[in-house]
Subunit: 344 residues, 4 copies
């Protein structure tokens, strides 16, 4: 068995990593650290894991050598000790924003300070298998994805891959997100009484995840606008895109089918009747699927490209485990078989 | 006292009209019709009205003469009997989509059939006081507004009024809406188990309310995209708009302040700290306010213009009562003083 | 105009007091204090009040003399400075738990420490008009009610008033409550991601509000069990009560009607069809009504007595304003006319 | 592989059965019927199954022979054709209420009509493994459980098994349930706008599931009171029980631990700190666990016994698959390994 460990396991992403690794057929979850909860059982913080594991959180400095180390620390912490962590494991998957951008200048521009370990940036592969499957198969270091970036990137992926987008035209992406994105510590706006029933546009321009979309596709004439909605898990991206004049429905279907064929966790949702005609995040809770779809308006030449994910899975822990599978030469779908629930 | 009556009072809009008219200082609610619920007390269908009114629903053919008649019928019904209703009251406010578009051709294009009473179209004034205050003061017939159209129109109003929009560029408007918009009969997708926690983009292009936005401003290079979110009352419109190159923050503030000064139910929400920095529909439940705000990105020249409303109030019954006040020469704010709740 | 002021106005109860007093026809809201938010506009904390008031929060020591002072401080603070506050106003309504129990021994037993101003306890009248209408009309000092206690007391009121309860048998009261009860500061369990969709029994026995129910009726063989549910505002109490063997449906109806006749904010909800057959808190948001109802099982002799309230209104600010009205000799319903919303 | 089929697969229970059987290591899902949806793909009704199965719904009369047949029909239908279905498969698990009560007289009393196939009643074993593990291992016919009955029975199980309950005293059980319990067709009260944020006590006395609790334990001095809360999946039962005077905390812990040891899907939740101190249904969505806990009040001798389940899993499809495993001699936990999610 491959021995895996999690640094920073009391947050939501850490909890999902623990759930996935405990159910993974080729991996043993050896240790999980938490400063705040050391000595507590995992299940006291993540109650779904009760009767599944008797592990207790340990202090970060009690972390022992293992094969794969997942870092689920607050942004900015991993880069300050990456050498230390790399000394403990051959493979590292960092789930923070620290190693997502390959360029130190881009990092400084979007995060407002210089990177503490710029020499490590190029060693990390951006951990979205749908973008970097082959590179992940050859790396020891992967950077976990930004959840909103993932929803936006996968919404645009079929259009970019098939070169259907009219260059130069503004791309408008709106992402609606659930409350788990704010993390287990939250803020005053995360209180149930304030956040229940909310439709709150909290970032109109300049969201940091924009940098990941730009890096992925080179599309920088792009708005990424974020709104909080009443949902715990999930993100839905809707991208308004002007297509090349030659594009028609057939070309769009071809592009979408190609993307689905190449990627085991991409599903096309585009039905003409019933309740579930387009991608929706709610049925994806706990699942690693990204559901994608589109609508096309021939009169204007605009398409609406849609992507729904679970922000903690395909947008965080799920992609991280999928990346690990690729890094270790395993079937990339191992341990990611939960299909989601209906109704929920 | 002015005698008012409601035709079609068992739906959500009809219920809100009843609440407002029962609390109106100058109006007496004389009759409310309902085919399905005739003989029942109003409060058996609208339980908030218990101990506020002993009115019972009557059959439509029991409607007697009154001063103001509110028609809250399913779309398509009012136009088939408008002569009959006009014979019963001097003032008519129709809350369906039947008389919103002044042009019969536009109606046929967006509603897919020819209008049954095209000669009445020009007699109706579109009932959004923020657009047509003076016209409403001189009409006997007002058409209630579309809720999504209202959110989109009021989001764009300051920019249009001050002529800040760059002509020719695509305007993208996303509207997120609550479940009360589907009405009291709903559909299979309206069941709680299917709609709770939903982020469901149900209309990418061609939503009928687009026609009202086009009619209001002549802006036809525009997408109006609708998503259902987990909320009962409320609609939030976010409009992505390219501004003229000369526009800066000062010009934007000037435009917004001018709109707020001219309209008693428009509030600007744009705070730098705290939970409530931008317009949010949840605190508007039951209120006639439209909260508007904006963000501006000087680098790209794009603005995000935001408007939040209660779809049943400013987007339906509230604007209808405000229009009635204007038609009758009353203070337009009469009977519309509920400020909304926090928290909710 | 009567000059009123609020000490501790940035919490949810303080916000509701401000909304009610700003809309009260006989009262002027003169000052509102907040340590944390002094200098901010009320509407920056309570966004529903935007365009309704230009008041700013002041520091507690800036409070000037007024006619009626509402204290909305954390439990334990009012008793430590009650002399100071009483020096500033002739009438005091304290909304904390500090002066609810008339007996210092009972206070010590349920709150775990001795009272700091026991000599003041007997000067305060428990501020539930449905219990103490005449006493409130003659007092200068009223103690605001506990929200769960109010729901339980009003559920039992018709049965107690008509002496229908079998002595000696255990009374089981379950209360389901919304998240606003935890206040604007909340705790980790109040985060949306943890509290959304929750059914969390957080107090099985010994909830402090039990003492208020015991004090009201002398019924001490009673369980008051609390569960958090997914709702912002509202509390529903269901009381399982063994009735005297002589009691039948008629006697129950008589008792309930008597209670409704005597109390303008009590409504009986007991319908045989439709959606709204029994009291439900959701339609009471913002309203001062308490909706009550019952079911009776002749075979066992047990009744289920139900009461729904808005915990911030009838369970806090609404009863406080109603008590003030009585203390000042005004119509007790003044300023409390909002009927609630449907749907919501 | 064992061939299984589902009759009535378009409802919520049918969908969960499909999900579980598609993931079961020893079972192949051969056919699923639906009158309304024949010809549609399973995933068009249950969108979580997209890319997991290419099965289409078939008409009921196209059902072929298989090894295990799950009947997920509306109540009353299975009993009218049980001979037909038994001719198609050696093993039958019926998930309706038709074969839950062993006594035809009890059925007539609670369901208001005589049973259509009373001779079949004794052939069916009530399918709750925690009650009837050994009988299930020896039967061909199992009756699926009632979800509210399951929550109530498992709440009481440790107390009954250890004989801790004081005879003769009334037991009060309150169950709070999610909207999926009303099924995929719902009713007017199931619309999101009416059911969101609801706390609706819809059955005070005489709920049909009471009969299952009486049958399980012989405890007939019992109230089973049902309230709908804002949640899609889940049921929480809280049982107020007078214990024998000799019982103390130690005896309670012993009883609970014994129940957990004997049953792989029972977990005790009783923590002194953190967010998750008592059983809560939300984290059980999709899981077959029943989480149980208790609080004890020595002063009164009353205990509150709590049980949380997913009504579609342990309260329906999960217990059905667990029963099937026992009937077929498989490990009872097979195919039921999803632990639930946190947060959700």
């Amino acid at each position: 068995m491959i021995r895996a460990a999690i640094v920073g396991g009391s947050g939501y992403t850490g909890g999902e990593l623990a759930r996935l690794l405990l159910g993974h057929p080729e991996v043993e979850l050896a240790q999980v650290t938490s400063r705040a909860n050391q000595g507590s059982y995992l299940y006291q913080v993540h109650p779904n894991l009760r009767r599944r594991s008797e592990l207790k959180f340990v202090a970060p400095d009690q972390m022992e050598r293992c094969d794969v180390l997942f870092l689920a620390l607050p942004h900015g912490e991993a880069q300050r000790a990456i050498g230390h962590w790399a000394g403990l494991a051959e493979y590292i998957v960092d789930l923070s924003a620290d190693f997502r951008l390959a360029d130190a200048g881009l990092y400084a521009q979007w995060y407002g300070k210089s990177h503490a370990a710029p020499e490590w940036l190029e060693r990390f592969v951006y951990g979205l298998p749908e973008l970097n499957r082959s590179q992940l198969a050859g790396t020891k270091y992967a950077a976990g994805v930004g959840c909103n970036a993932t929803a936006a990137i996968l919404a645009l992926l079929p259009l970019v891959a098939a070169d259907l987008i009219e260059p130069g035209e503004r791309i408008i992406v709106e992402v609606k997100v659930g409350s788990s994105e704010a993390g287990a510590s939250g803020n005053s706006g995360s209180l149930h009484a304030e956040r229940s029933g909310v439709v709150r546009t909290f970032s109109a321009f300049g969201h940091r995840h924009t940098a990941e979309v730009i890096q992925a596709f080179g599309l920088d004439n792009l708005s990424l606008t974020m709104s909080a909605v009443d949902l715990v898990r999930g993100a839905l991206a809707t991208a308004h895109v002007k297509l090349r004049t030659s594009v028609d429905q057939k070309a769009l279907w071809r592009a979408y089918r190609q993307t689905a064929v190449e990627n085991p966790f991409i599903r096309i949702v585009k039905e003409g009747r019933g309740i579930h005609r387009a991608p929706e995040p709610k049925i994806l809770a706990g699942s690693n699927y990204a559901d994608i779809g589109f609508e096309f308006d021939p009169a204007s030449g605009y398409a609406l490209a849609i992507c729904a994910i679970d922000n903690l899975m395909k947008g965080a822990a799920g992609s991280a485990v999928q990346a690990m599978n690729l890094m270790l030469g395993l079937d990339e779908a191992l341990g990611l078989d939960f299909p989601g629930l209906h109704p929920i």
